[in-house]
Structures are given as C-alpha cells and as structure tokens.
C-alpha cells in the first residue's frame, strides 16, 4: 500500500526561450474547457462559471467539443465505462492540452476507493496536470487551482500531454489492463445457463433431478 499515494505532478521545466514564453502567455489567458460532468463535482461548476465567481475574468470559457478545447475537467469519480470515453475525448483534443482532476476521486478513489466499477488513480491512465483535493472543492478552490495552472503553463511546467506522448505505451498498458482485460480478477464466473435453455427444458431437468 505504500505506493498507493504516489503523486506524479512534479515536472521538470520546459526549455524556455522568448517564443515559448510568449506563446505560453497567450495560452494561459485563453483556455477553453471541456468538462466531463459525470461525477458530482459538476455541481460546483455553475457557480464558478456564472456571475458569483465569474471564471471568464480569467479568460476561461466552456467549449462544446473536445477538438476545440484546451482543458479537460474530470469532475469527480470515473467509472470504468466512462474512463473509456474520457480517453477518447482526451486523445481527440489538440495539443497543448491540460487535465484537471476535481476532488479526491481522481486522486485516490475518494469514497469509492473500494468500489468495483470506479477507478482509483486517474494518473495511471492519463496525465493529470492539476488536482484539486476536497470532496467537493468549493469554487474558491477551483479558481485557485486554475490560477496555479496558469502559472505552471507560463513557466512551462504543465507538460502532461508531452508525458502522455512519451510514455504512451505505459499509459496504454494501464488502460488495457482495465478496459480490455482477458481474465477474471478474483474468481472466474462460469454461467450455468450459458446455453440459454428454455423454461420447459429447465423444468424437465428439475423434475428428472428430483426423481433421481
């Protein structure tokens, strides 16, 4: 269990020159976000986006499609079934792209750490540039995280997409381990009705068994 809370956000700086610095300055001021609202964290986004906390003053706004978005928000727990769709969405996004994990579920499973359909560590499947702890984080925490992410983009530290490209085989192997598993994890299940018998056949068999 000692490896369970390892947290892969610490990155080495990108080599900076004037042009990357300038590009990063503009990147950080115009982020379009795609929010993956299947988890409970989605409920914190309306106050963050609307007049009370007004995310747009940071230059951020919602975007409808992954191909035009820069920022992917994973708002809460991810089940195995949604993980597949998240990976599709993430791979469709154009670089540079950033991922923010909301709440404790993408970090270590949160309250679903022992649930069978929910993955525990998003970091193992896709690179996460910024995680917000809390269950759920309040809009202030979200704004704070976005500001930190903007700083990291300016400094060239938010390079999760490059990590994904370089270690694609590692991420793909982890994804395959969960999504395309070939064998049972604990006990293989053999369906006694795999041949799809009819009710009449089952009843005939039962009456035979009772005679024996």
């Amino acid at each position: 269990m000692e490896h369970d809370n390892i947290y892969l956000t610490n990155l080495r700086d990108e080599k900076q020159n004037m042009w990357t610095g300038l590009a990063n300055y503009f990147r950080k001021r115009s982020m379009w976000m795609l929010y993956y609202c299947t988890g409970c964290g989605a409920i914190e986004l309306p106050p963050t986006m609307t007049s009370r906390y007004d995310m747009e003053r940071l230059g951020m706004g919602p975007m409808a499609t992954p191909r035009q978005a820069d920022l992917l928000l994973i708002t809460g727990y991810l089940s195995v079934k949604t993980l597949k769709r998240v990976i599709w969405s993430y791979e469709q996004m154009q670089e540079p792209k950033y991922v923010v994990g909301f709440g404790s579920c993408p970090i270590n499973g949160g309250i679903y750490w022992d649930a069978y359909p929910v993955i525990n560590h998003l970091e193992a499947f896709m690179p996460v540039d910024m995680s917000i702890a809390g269950c759920m984080p309040r809009p202030q925490a979200i704004i704070d995280a976005f500001e930190k992410l903007m700083d990291e983009i300016q400094q060239g530290k938010a390079v999760g997409y490059k990590r994904y490209r370089k270690h694609y085989d590692w991420y793909k192997r982890n994804q395959d381990l969960v999504l395309n598993r070939q064998s049972a994890v604990l006990t293989p299940y053999v369906d006694p009705f795999a041949s799809m018998p009819t009710a009449a056949e089952l009843m005939a068999q039962e009456s035979e068994d009772s005679h024996v």
């Binding site: 990155l11 080495r12 195995v80 381990l177 395309n180 049972a184 604990l186 006990t187």
Partner: protein, 176 residues
Amino acid sequence: MYDHIFKRAQSLHGDKITCEKKHPQQLEIKTDRHYVMNLLSWLKTESYVHLAFISCIDWIEENQFELVYHVYSYEEKNHILVKTRLDRDRPWMHSIIDVWGHAQPYEQEIHEMFGVYFPGNPDLSGLFLHNWKDLPPMRKDFNPKDYSLALYSLKGMGHEALDMDFIQEITELEVE
C-alpha cells in the same frame, strides 16, 4: 385498506400463498416461483397495474436468492410485494415480460448483477458492466474491496512500471 384483497387472495390462492401485512401501505405475499406468474396476472386484473420494480436479495446463508416484485395500485394507493425464493446454485425464474413488457430491463439487470437467468427474456446481455469476467458483483460472496485493490490500486495494477525507478524516470522527464 387491504381487507378485501387480502380475503380474495386467501380464497382464490389460499393453499399456494402466505399473506402478511407488513405495513399499512404494504402487503407481502410469498409464493412458489412457479406460481408467481399466475399471481401477478391476477393482481394486474385487481387494479395493481403498475410494476414498480423487481429486486433481488442474496440470502447466502440459506443458499437462496429472493426475488421481490413490487406492484402498485393507483386506485387502492398501496403496494403489494410478491416474494419468491430461488435455489442459489441454479437460479432461474420465469420471465414476466408477457405480463409487463417493461420488466425486460429489470430482469436484464438482475441477470447481470446476480446471475439469475430468466428464460423467455429475449435480451440478457450486459447492461452496465464493462468487460466483466468475475462473479456477478451484487452477490454476497463477491468482495468489491479485494476486487478494487487488485485491479485499481497502483500496487495492484501490478507491473514493474509502478516501481520507484519508473516514477523517478517519469518525474524527471526531459522535454524537448
């Protein structure tokens, strides 16, 4: 409130069922699984037209599954629970989609989550689980914690990629 349905059930199906009032709004009827279809058809004619849902309970110590059909009457404004027990080693139950068509996804879900087989149901394919190869997960002998730790914890993901050297390499990634 239940008096007339209680009396009629006793007089019509007396030797096949046992009735008990669980609550002012709930009547429980226990019966054999081969008799459930008759009973539900009769209840449907007695204004219990709404099948709210079907639930399944795993009585592992008695080695049985229990199916509970919740039916509701808009005229009487009360519920009847029809309960029946199945053998846990070979759990199967007649499909009731001829009485209520919308029972199809309920039975499909019970098949996926408990492994109860419903002959007569045209589609018992997987509904929610992705690439599931283990025991049906709502059974009591399935341990979700062990499953989660074995599959989703970094240690349990279980290959050399997760040792410290790799973590070191990935955090010291040289870019461009």
